[in-house]
Structures are given as C-alpha cells and as structure tokens.
Symmetry: C2
C-alpha cells in the first residue's frame, strides 16, 4: 500500500541466477537491448492499448535491494557473495524508450525498449512484464467498453472481483481509456482518479423498510444521489424514490434483470412522475457487448465490474520481454540475436516504430524500423524517451495518457468500433523482415 517500498523482489528467481551465471562468464557487462512486444493480440481484438508506463517508472525507481530483500536472498541460498554484493549496489543506469502510455499497439509493436548491460536489464524483466501485461490487458478491454458506451459516463467498479492491488491499477487503466470514475478509493488517493458510488442492497436491507433507507440516503448524501431501486420491486421503489427525492433526484440504479427493458420502463416512469432529469444508471455483468446492446436504451451511465478487471476474456496481454541485440565478446557493437524455438520465434535487432498516416490523417500501418526513422510527413514516431542514463525523464500526468489514448483511437480506421470477430485494424510492416 505504501508507494515507496522496494519492488526488487517482485521478480522471478531465475533473473538472479542468470545474473550470477553472467557475472561468472563476464556476459553481465555486455551491452544489450531488450524489447517488449506482443506476438499477437487476443482473439477478436482490433488493437491493444499500452498501459502501465507510469507505474513501471515508479517501480523502476523503487527497484533497490534493501536489507530485508538481501537478508531473505542470503537465507534462501543459491546466490554467492559476489552476486549479493552486486545486488546491494544495484541501480539501473541504462536507457528506456517506450510507446506513450495510452497509445494503441499491434502485433510486433516494440512498446518498450530497454538498453543497458545484460545484468541491469535482465533484472527488470519480471516487474516490467507484470505491470504492462496487467495494465495493458485492462486498458485494452476498457477502451472497447468506452467505445461501445459512445460517450455515456462509465464507472469502474470491479475492485471486489480482483486482487486488492490489481484493483487500484485497473481503476487507473480504465480511467486512461475514458472511464469517468472508479469505485476504488485508493485509486483516487494514489492516482487522482475521480471516485463514485452511493449504496448497495445491504443498505436497503439493513433498514426496516426501503422508504427508511431512501430517506436516510437522501438526508446523508443530498438530493443529487443515486438510489438503488431493485432490492424488492423496481416500480414501487422508483415511486418511493421520486416521492422522497422530488424532481431533483439525482438518479436511480438498476443492477439486475434485463437491463434494456428495465431502463425503458424506469425512464418512462421517472418521466411520468415528473423527474425527467433524474438519471438511469445500469450495472450488473456488463461487458463491451452488453454495453453496445444498450446503445438504444435510455441509459445515462454504466457501471462495469467483473468484465473490466478480468480484461473481458483476455486477463493478460501476452507481452514478452526478449533480448534482441547484444555486443559480442570484446566489442561494443550491438548484434541482433533471436531464438529459434518452435512456434515462438522473435525478430532480432534494436527497433524503432512509427505510425504511417494516409492523406486524411488516418492511421494506415504500423512501421517497425531497423534504424531511427527520418522526419517525414505522415509518419508519426511512436517511441518516447522514458529513462536516460538511469534517470526517469518520461513521467507525465495521467491525463496526458488519457488524451493520447483518445487521439490514438480517433486516428485509427473506423473498424476500430468492431466488437465481434475483429482483426488488427492496421497491419504491422517490418522494414526489413528478419528471415528468422
């Protein structure tokens, strides 16, 4: 929960045993480039969304082996003194480039590029992947929900369906793709995401009658509050709500049944009772498809829980972190490297990326270059400098990521709105395809 604790043990053990091996062979000090990318998008997705950059930069600054970590490692055994003292002095001193947070990505997009010695760069693999795989999975799902909602306000409310700390990151990821608010208070405190929420069924049930519960809520939270109307009988609850709240009642929430029919019925009833400005909020097992199906219903806002925090069928983004180049013994020149494992090939070499735009300014292709691309009209470079010589230089307010996401989506072809059986909406072109 504290923001300044060490992140160094959020790491797979083999990063440290590899370090020990590389210290023995001398490969520890070789210059290397690691690249993070997705071999493919989850099924039926047209694009992915980069998220986690801000959290990764924080984790990088907190990646220090403090005495608690070193004591544990010494006790656990397997690491020699050379390795342990190397860890005690660890500070990443290299360079990192990455896609701007909120940017859309496609198969093969080099969304993070880490350049440094092998030893210092390999250690970051686990925590970098954990953060980007989680946050990008949530943002990728959330972005589609935001598109489906077509501008209607969305509340993220999935905290209870995921690990308590994932919940905080999920709220952040949802916000940067366009959600208006979250139920999660720690996301409010830590990241400044607006928070929302009024009451649950237990609040109605703990009172002797629904009327008493509504009275208490209106008195405690003011007339603009949203009353939950489906604990017993929706029609009766709406009648009571307007009787008590009057025409200034903020709104009502329906959390069960067929949400489309319910929205029409409740809207009509509110209008007839003289509360045409009271909002109809719907919640309950919503995902991008259910939201899209509700587009014609008179809904003023959606609350999304389970589907959001579980990535709507794709709970991880399948990003990998691969060594793509290193210097050979006795040189400082980078050489491309790539494994040849069956079904999991990778393309060697340091890469750059840009989005190619057509004459109208719409995205036409993702270009992956072997050299830094020249300035060109209709070519938008995608890699930003995040870390220079170990210093974080790419930190930005979350609202910048939110705006970048909005621009990135607006630039993509219209097929981005396709929710079913989607394929990558633009192709990825490698400047000189690697034969591997």
């Amino acid at each position: 929960m504290t923001d300044d604790a060490s992140s160094a043990l959020l790491t797979d053990r083999y990063e440290l045993t590899m370090l020990q091996g590389a210290l023995h062979s001398g490969a520890a000090n070789r210059r290397t480039v690691f690249e993070m990318f997705a071999r493919r998008l989850p099924e039926n997705r047209g694009y992915g969304v980069v998220a986690g950059t801000g959290r990764f930069l924080d984790a990088l600054e907190r990646f220090r082996f403090d005495s608690a970590a070193l004591d544990y490692l010494a006790d656990a055994g397997g690491l020699d003194d050379t390795t342990l003292s190397w860890l005690a002095d660890y500070r990443f001193s290299g360079d990192v480039w990455g896609y701007g947070e909120g940017e859309c990505y496609f198969p093969g997009s080099p969304i993070l590029v880490v350049e440094g010695t092998f030893a210092e760069s390999v250690l970051l693999e686990t925590v970098a992947l954990s953060i980007f795989n989680h946050d990008s999975a949530i943002a990728s799902a959330a972005s589609r929900m935001s598109l489906a909602a077509g501008g209607r306000p969305m509340i993220e409310m999935g905290s209870r369906r995921t690990h308590e700390m994932s919940a905080v990151a999920a709220a952040r990821a949802a916000y940067l793709t366009g959600f208006s608010s979250t139920s999660n208070l720690e996301a409010g405190r830590r990241f400044g995401v607006p928070t929302a929420g009024t009451s649950a069924h237990s609040f109605v049930l703990v009172h002797d009658t629904e009327r008493e519960a509504f009275e208490a809520q209106l008195r405690a939270l003011g007339g603009d509050t949203t009353l939950l109307v489906d604990t017993y009988d929706v029609e009766e609850a709406v009648r009571t709500a307007v009787e008590l709240g009057g025409s200034g009642l903020g709104g009502v929430r329906v959390d069960s049944g067929d949400l489309s029919s319910a929205a029409f019925r409740v809207r009509r009833q509110l209008d007839e009772l003289g509360a045409p400005k009271s909002r109809v909020i719907v919640t309950g097992d919503l995902d991008e498809h259910a939201i899209q199906a509700l587009a014609v219903a008179p809904v003023d806002g959606y609350g999304v829980g389970t589907a959001l925090v579980t990535g709507s069928g794709a709970p991880t983004a399948s990003l990998v972190y691969k060594l793509v180049a290193r210097s050979a013994r006795g040189t400082h020149e980078l050489e491309p490297v790539a494994k040849r494992s069956v079904g999991k090939p990778s393309k060697g070499g340091r890469k750059w990326a840009s989005r190619r735009l057509d004459a109208s300014g719409a995205a036409a292709a993702e270009f992956v270059h072997e050299k830094e691309p020249q300035e060109e009209p209709r070519l938008r470079p995608l890699l930003r400098r995040l870390v220079a010589g170990g210093e974080v230089v790419g930190r930005e307010p979350i609202d910048e990521a939110r705006e970048r996401h909005s621009r990135s989506i607006a630039e993509l072809p219209e097929t981005v709105h396709r929710m079913h059986r989607a394929e990558p909406v633009i192709p990825t072109r490698f400047e000189q395809p690697d034969p591997a």
Copy 2:
C-alpha cells in the same frame, strides 16, 4: 510491498457513503450478519477451493484509517465530519467464522460469516471480496492442475502474466493446493513458499555460444542445475548439456514445440547419453488439460504460468458478500433478510455448514444449517472461528492450509478428477430451504 501499511482505502466508495447514511438513520449500530458465498461454480468445475483467509486476517488487522487516508477522504468531499471521525476510530470489534483455508467449497457454502454492527461489517466488504475472489480463483485452478499432475512436482511461474502483487498472492494460493515451488521471490520472503528457477533464453543468447552459456551456468549454479535446451536445436543442446554436465546433470527444460514428443525424445537421448537421472522439465502454455495429456510422457516436473495466474479461464471466483440477517429497530434479535432482485436471489439467515460423510468416510453432501449442528458421526463441521471480539484467533501456518486441502480433496468422490464438463461433485443441501 510492506506488510504493515493500511488496507482501509482498498475499498469501494459506496461502503463509506452507506456508512454515512446509516449513521444518519441509526442503522449503523444494528447487529448484522454478512455471509460470503458463491451462487455457482465456474463452468465445468466440480469444486472450488477457499483461499485468502490468512491474507484477509492480515488485511483486517491493517484496516485502519490513518492520516493519509483521512486527509484524502476529507479532500475528496462527500463525507461529513461525523463520518470522518467515526472512521478515524474504526476498529472491527465483531466476530468472524470461515471455512478453513484450503477447504473445498460448493455453490451456497457460507465460506465466511461476519457478525458485528452494520457499520463495522459493511466496510470490510470490498477488501474481503478482493482477497477471497482472487486467491480462491487461483487456488481452484491450481488444485485441478495439481490433481492432473498426479504428484509430479509443479513450479508456479506466472508472475509476469499478472499484476505484480497478484503474483505474490497467486504463488501462495498455488502452494497451498500442492504446487512445490514458485518463481516469485517476494512470495518466498513473505509467505515462505520455496522458490525455484535457473535461466531463460536471454541467458543463452547473451553469450557467444550456447556452450559458453551452459558452462557459465554449471559453474555458477552447480551441476544439479536445469539447463534450458530449446533456444536453438534441442538435440544438439542436450548433447552439449550432458557433455558439460555429465551424468550428474540436474535436468533440462523444454519450453516450446509439442511437449509430449519432446519429452520422449529428450528422455531417450538423456538415457542414451548416460544421464538417466537427469530430469526433464516442461513449461510453456500448460494448463490442467495439457498437464493431464502429458501424464504418459516421461516428464519429471511442470512449470505453469499464464493459466495458473489467470485462473485457467475463471480469473475470479464470483464470491459475493451479502447481508443475511440484522436486528430490527429497538431489538437485538437477528431477523433473516434477503433481496428479491431478478436472477440474483439470496437466502436470508445466519448459517452453519458441515460436510456429510458416507460410511466409507467419503464426502456425500454439503449441508447448510440454520442452527449450529449437533455433534454427530459422519458430519464434519466446516466453520472455524477466525476473529473473536475483534481479535484475530484463527491465524495458522500456510502448511496447515496445504494439508487441509490435501485431506479435503482426498475425502471427495472420485469424480473430483474429472477435468472436462465437471459438475459440483457433491450436492449442497439447505436444511430448510428459504422460499425466496
């Protein structure tokens, strides 16, 4: 990362607005019972596994609104001074019962029962659900993988595919269902889970040759280490591995291709090269079905990543936390309460649970009682006291949960081994079904 930070803001905003409403109406001090249960199991599952109890008890003790939390809440607005000072003094003073951690559960099993005032109990909803929904989802998937592995060692290695803190909890949940170890170092430090792992493809690639990499690893980690043999050509790599490591080589790992064929080929080659004791470890997109399919292959251990940390298709356990009883105005007697929302009914009333055993000692049914059950042969009570008058009394070492899980599985009918199209392996019987 620190273990003692406040958990109080890992909470949905509406828990606090409900508190404010209940302080206004006086319902805050009513005696209440909240119950956690699952309406159903994920599709094709025969049982669920309770996990998160130990982490929940820790979170409960850390559930204090410290000055950082209170400052944030005051700034965020919406809560009045009465509510804020109530929060400043918050300490849960009630009682909690729960299924033992590691116990199997079924639809309707009351796995957690919280008794206290409405105000103090409702506040725990979000963090309790976050912890149990995550940890139980992972444990439920992991348990099936352990069954499928039939006693062969399993390494949990999914950290990179989930949020960095979920990873720590997932390693713990996997361990309690029978996994032997984890890649996650923080799970080792915090929960004492044994850690494992040796090297990745980047370690081979950073060296000029695979041979140099193997030499370095053997020198740095000793002859009992496991060498990764699928970076280039598996057959050549195995030959080099035994040439360098000799008959005492710990093992080799294959992470790609058809793992069954690969295991047979590599086993034969190791035997022919005079290393019959070297282990064959397989990793790469394994889930319970893939593990089951490898039962006949000569495999000495499995590493499981993505499928484990994403709950193998069920990333959340769908547990809910519902008010089931409360005292009415002016009384201290508990009355059952239940909402009538379409499709989401709940059964009112405080409940107890026991597992009914047949003459052979095998589980025959899950009984949910309205009163504490009498001592009886063949009736195993399931609720343990976890918190008494606000004090945690049910803390236990993780190995107790691990042993409980093993006993609980052994007691279930043989259908527990069914991986496809499973249904709850024992029925849940309510002593007096609630008409709602």
